[in-house]
Symmetry: D2
Subunit: 253 residues, 4 copies
Amino acid sequence: MLKTARFPEFQNEEVQKKAYDILKAHDIDHLIVIGGDGSMRGATSLAKLGMSTMTIPCTIDNDMGGTQYTLGFDTALNTVVDAVGRIRDTSNSHERVAIVEVMGRKAGHIALKAGLACGAEIVLVPENPMPLHDVCRHLKETQIRGKEYSVILVAEGAYNSGDVKAFIKEHTEFDPSLTVLGYLQRGGGPSAFDAILAARMSEACLNLLMNGVDNRLLGYIDGHIRPISYQEAELLDFPINEKDYTLLSILSS
Amino acid sequence: MLKTARFPEFQNEEVQKKAYDILKAHDIDHLIVIGGDGSMRGATSLAKLGMSTMTIPCTIDNDMGGTQYTLGFDTALNTVVDAVGRIRDTSNSHERVAIVEVMGRKAGHIALKAGLACGAEIVLVPENPMPLHDVCRHLKETQIRGKEYSVILVAEGAYNSGDVKAFIKEHTEFDPSLTVLGYLQRGGGPSAFDAILAARMSEACLNLLMNGVDNRLLGYIDGHIRPISYQEAELLDFPINEKDYTLLSILSS
Amino acid sequence: MLKTARFPEFQNEEVQKKAYDILKAHDIDHLIVIGGDGSMRGATSLAKLGMSTMTIPCTIDNDMGGTQYTLGFDTALNTVVDAVGRIRDTSNSHERVAIVEVMGRKAGHIALKAGLACGAEIVLVPENPMPLHDVCRHLKETQIRGKEYSVILVAEGAYNSGDVKAFIKEHTEFDPSLTVLGYLQRGGGPSAFDAILAARMSEACLNLLMNGVDNRLLGYIDGHIRPISYQEAELLDFPINEKDYTLLSILSS
Amino acid sequence: MLKTARFPEFQNEEVQKKAYDILKAHDIDHLIVIGGDGSMRGATSLAKLGMSTMTIPCTIDNDMGGTQYTLGFDTALNTVVDAVGRIRDTSNSHERVAIVEVMGRKAGHIALKAGLACGAEIVLVPENPMPLHDVCRHLKETQIRGKEYSVILVAEGAYNSGDVKAFIKEHTEFDPSLTVLGYLQRGGGPSAFDAILAARMSEACLNLLMNGVDNRLLGYIDGHIRPISYQEAELLDFPINEKDYTLLSILSS
C-alpha cells in the first residue's frame, strides 16, 4: 500500500520524485496500487513522472470516482447487516429505538445500502441528512403505526451519533441504545462477492499491463470491469442513488 | 410458493386449471411467483390460462434461464466460502486433501464461483467434469510444487463425493477428508447483496404490474433488472463461464 | 419476563400484591422467573406473599449474587471476541490503538473475561479502573516493546469510552479508533454452552418444583447447578477474579 | 505437536529414545504436549525415559481420560449448533428429515452435547446406538405429533450416515437430506470458553513446572484445573452422561 491518504507529504512533488526514483532503482516496471481516492492520486502522481501504474479500487466506503463499486464494500455491508440483525434480536419496552453508526467518510453508501438490506426504519446520510426534528416525528409516527422497534443508521459523515441519541432522548419519550461499529466494519474475511471480484480484477490488471495498457483505474460499471483513465475517473462520479432512498422509504413505512 | 417442482402433478393440465379456478375464486388478480425453473414453468402454465403473473428468480443453484443471477446464490456462496475457510484452518501431515461437496443440481455455478472465491485447487463441475485420474495427477503435482493442502470442490451434479474420496485414496497416497455441506447452504440470513436485490426486485415487480406489464421473469442482467418473457427466458441460457474456469486454473496453480 | 428492573413501581408493595392476585386468579401455582437481579427481587417479593417461585439467572452481565454464571454471558463473550478479532484485522500506521466499549453494568465481568479470551492489551473495569494516565503510559511502553496494535476494552461502568479516546488523543501520539458494541452483545443465537445450561436449568427447575422445593435461585457453582435461597443469593457475591486480572497482565505483556 | 497418534512408529521404544535424545541435545528441559490420547501416550513414553513433561488436553472429540473437558470441544459444539440452525432454516414438504454427521471418534460427546444445544430430535451415539428401525418408528411418531422437521445427529462412530439415510428412505416415506460436517468442525477461531481456558491452562502449566511438578495431564474437573498423573488419567474415564441422554429425550418429545 502507498497509504498516500495517510501521508499528506506524498502531495509534495519532491517526495513523489523520491518514491519514483526508489521504484526505478529497484527495477520495478509496474506498480499496482490497491486503495481509495488518496491511493489513486498517489498513482496519478507517479504516472505523471513516468511510472507505469494500475489502480484497483479498494475501500469499504465505496466513495471513489470512476467506479460503481470498490472492493471491501460488500464485506462491510454484510458486517453491518449481521450487526443490525443481532441488535434487532433484543428489544424491550423502554428502549425501542436503536442507533447504529456506520462508516462511509463523506458518503452515505454504506448507510443507505445497509439500510436497504436490513430494513432500517431511518437512514441518515451526509448527502442529504434528515433534520433531527423530522427524525423524532418519524419515530413517533412509526411506533404509532405499530412498529415495536426502530433502527436508525447514522453515517459517520451525517451526524455525530451521540448527538442524535441525546436529541432523541430530549425530544421524545425514547431512550435509544447506541452502537458504534467503527473498525469492526473493516475486518473479517472477504465476502464471496469481494473475493471473486478481486480475482477478476487481478486478472484484468495483469492482462492490461501485459498488453501495454496502464495508468488506469479498474472501474466496475454495470457488472463489467472497465479500465478508466485517472483523469476520467476523477470526473466520473457515482453518488448515492436517489432511487435507493425512495425504495428505503417505501420499505420502512 | 407454488412448489411446482415438488408437485409433478402440476404438469397435469387439469391440476393447472383447478389452481387457476381457486385463484380466481379468491379474487386474486396477480400472482407473484418466487422460485426456480419449476416455479417459472408453473407460472407459465397459469399465464396461459389467463392469470396475470410475475416470476422472481430465487434458487441457490443459479441455474435458471433468462437471468444471470437468482436470489439466494450469493448467500449460499458466502456459506461455502466460510465453510472452506474453516476446513483450511486444520491440516495435518496425513490428510492434506479436503473434499467439499456443494449443491447446484445439474449446474456447476456454486462450485465454480465458490472455488474462485476460496481459491479451491480443483473444482469438479457437471458441465465438464475433470476425469478422476486427472484429479489424482493434479493433486500430486500440486503438492510437489509445495502446496501443503488442496481443496477439491465437488458439485453434486458432477460426481458422488464419496466415490471421489475412494478413488483418490486408492490411486494416491492421500486420504482425503470429506465434508458434504448439503442443506447448510440453503439456510442462514440473506447476504446484503441478496437482501438488497430482493428489495429492488419487489419494487420492480410491483411497478411493472401496476403499469400493466405481466407474465415476465425478472432477469438480472449486467447489473440491471430486466423483465423477460417466459418464452424468451426458457431460451436464454447463462451457462458457467469458461473464463471463470480458466481464471481458477491460474489462481490455483 | 417480569421485567421488574424496568418497572421501578414493582418495588411498591401494592403493585406486588396486585401481581400476586392476578397470578392466583389465573390459577398459576408456580412462577419461573428468568432474569437478573431485579427479576430475582421481584420473585422474592412474590414469594413473601406466598407465591411459589423459582429464578433462573439470565443476564449477559454475569452480575448476580448466588451464582458464578448467568445465562447469556457466554454468548455475549463470543460476540465480543468475534468483534475484537475483526477489529484487529485492520491496522495501519496511524491508528494503532482500538478502544472497544463493552457492557456489564457496574461489573467488569464481560470486559475482563473477553479481555482474556481475545488477548486485550488493556482492560478497564469499574471495580478497579486503571487511571487514564497509566493507560497512556502503558500504551507507549507496549508499542516500544514492539506491539503494533493495542486493544483497550472499556467496561461501560468504568469510563465513558469517548472520554478515554479523547484523553489518549490528547496525551499521546495515538488517535484511537472507537467501537461501542452496545446491544449487539445482547443478540445472536445462544452459544452451545448457554443452550445446554439452559436445558439443564429448565430440567432442574421442574424437578425441584415437583419435589416441593421452591423460592430458590438456580446458582451455577463450580460446574454444578445448586438451588440457593433468595436470602443467601443476595449475600453470596462472586466479584471479578483478581487472578484473571493478573493473568491478563501476564498475557498482554 | 508430537502428532504421536499420527505416527504409529512412536510406539517403538527406539523411536522414543531417539526423540528423547534429540530433545536433550537441544537442551530442552520441559516438554509441553498439547493434544489428545495419543499425544498423552507419547508424553508418558518420554516421561518414562526421564523427560519432564506436561500435557494440556486438546481435541474437539472430548474423549480423553483424566479430564471432563478437552480444549476445542466448545468451539466444535458452537460450529455444529450454528450448522444445524442453518439446516433447520430450510424445510419443505418432502424433505422433512435432516441427517447431520458429526465427529467424535469412538465417543458420542459432540453428538450428545450438540444435540442438547440445538434440540436434535434424535442423536445416534456409538456408546449405545439406537437401532435404525427404532429411528424410523421415532421419526413417524414425531411427525404424527406435529413436528414439521426432525434433525438426526449421527456420531461418526455410531453409524455410516449414508447408510442411515438409505435405511430411512427405504423404511419410511421420508427422503432425508444429508450433511457431513467433517473437518469443518475442527476450524474457526476458538470460542471464548476455549480461549479463556487455554490461557488458564498455560498459566497453570508454567506454575506447576516452575514449582517442580511435572508429568501430569491438566485435567478440567468440576470447573477447576487439576494436575492428574498420566497413570491416573488413563484410568479415570468420563463417559457420556446418561442424564444428558435422558434430558435430550425429554426435550425432543
